[in-house]
């Protein structure tokens, strides 16, 4: 009989069941103070929202390829590439400005 008592003692000590009441009463939930919750104003449209200027379309710099570059790639024309080089050289007006800056 003593062994049976010992076995009951083992079952009691080693198992770990918990009353369902604690789960149902939501005892484990930390209760928040509803008075500390700050109310936010509802979202409203800004005044004269319709009059705002439409944003301009921006060119995507990464995808932008100059037409001349494409032409050089396709035709492999050296004249075109020289024209491009020429166009990149500073003009006389630009030169004078640069000199003044320096």
């Amino acid at each position: 009989m003593n062994k049976i008592y010992f076995l009951f003692f083992i079952a009691l000590m080693l198992s770990s069941c918990q009353s369902a009441k604690d789960a149902l009463t939501l005892k484990k939930k930390p209760s928040g103070d509803e008075f500390l919750v700050e109310k936010k104003n509802p979202l409203v449209m800004p005044p004269n929202y319709g009059k705002l200027p439409m944003p301009e379309e921006k060119k995507d710099d990464e995808n932008f390829i100059d037409e001349n570059e494409i032409q050089v790639i396709i035709t492999n024309d050296s004249n075109v590439s020289s024209k491009i080089k020429k166009s990149t050289e500073p003009t006389s007006l630009e030169k004078s400005i640069l000199e003044k800056i320096q």
């Binding site: 080693l14 198992s15 918990q18």
Partner: protein, 164 residues
């Protein structure tokens, strides 16, 4: 002769360790799944059938939520007492054999699963909730199933021995 006995003994011990570890692993996997599912809100409630629900609850005490102390001293004292009981069962199980041994191993595996929780999470994870209409049984875990099964088998064996 001695060599074969030694080999058989080694195999036996390996099987016992594997059996205990298997129960421990089943318990840990089940608890990890529940913990993973409750990661977002910290809570977990799921109705599987009209009788079976999964509801995560943390138990700092022993069976039926007894000895659920908030102070660490009593909690650690109970934990070490449980550890001592497990050691005692291991010693007793060494002398047993057959179904009796399997029952003791089930108890050891389950008890280690709960003890791991006690040291790692500072409370045991319970999540199996049986209910019938408005009546709810105590929420338990996989370890408790093995411990209870082991104890029930041992009690039945004890009654059987008495009758014989």
């Amino acid at each position: 002769m001695f060599e074969t006995f030694k080999l058989n003994y080694k195999k036996k011990v390996l099987f016992e360790i594997f059996f205990v570890f298997l129960i421990f692993a089943i318990d840990r996997v089940s608890k990890s799944i529940i913990l993973h599912l409750s990661k977002i809100t910290g809570e977990f409630e799921m109705t599987l059938t009209s009788y079976l629900n999964l509801s995560l609850i943390w138990n700092r005490g022993i069976a039926f939520g007894l000895f659920s102390f908030e102070t660490n001293l009593y909690y650690n004292l109970i934990s070490f007492l449980i550890g001592a009981i497990i050691l005692l069962i291991i010693i007793i199980s060494k002398k047993s054999k057959g179904v009796e041994k399997i029952s003791f191993l089930m108890i050891i595996g389950g008890a280690l699963g709960n003890l791991f929780d006690r040291f790692y999470y500072k409370s045991v994870i319970d999540f199996i909730d049986f209910s019938f209409q408005n009546f709810h049984w105590f929420i338990f875990n996989v370890s408790d199933i093995f411990i209870s099964l082991g104890v029930i088998i041992l009690i039945l064996l004890e009654f059987k021995k008495k009758n014989e």
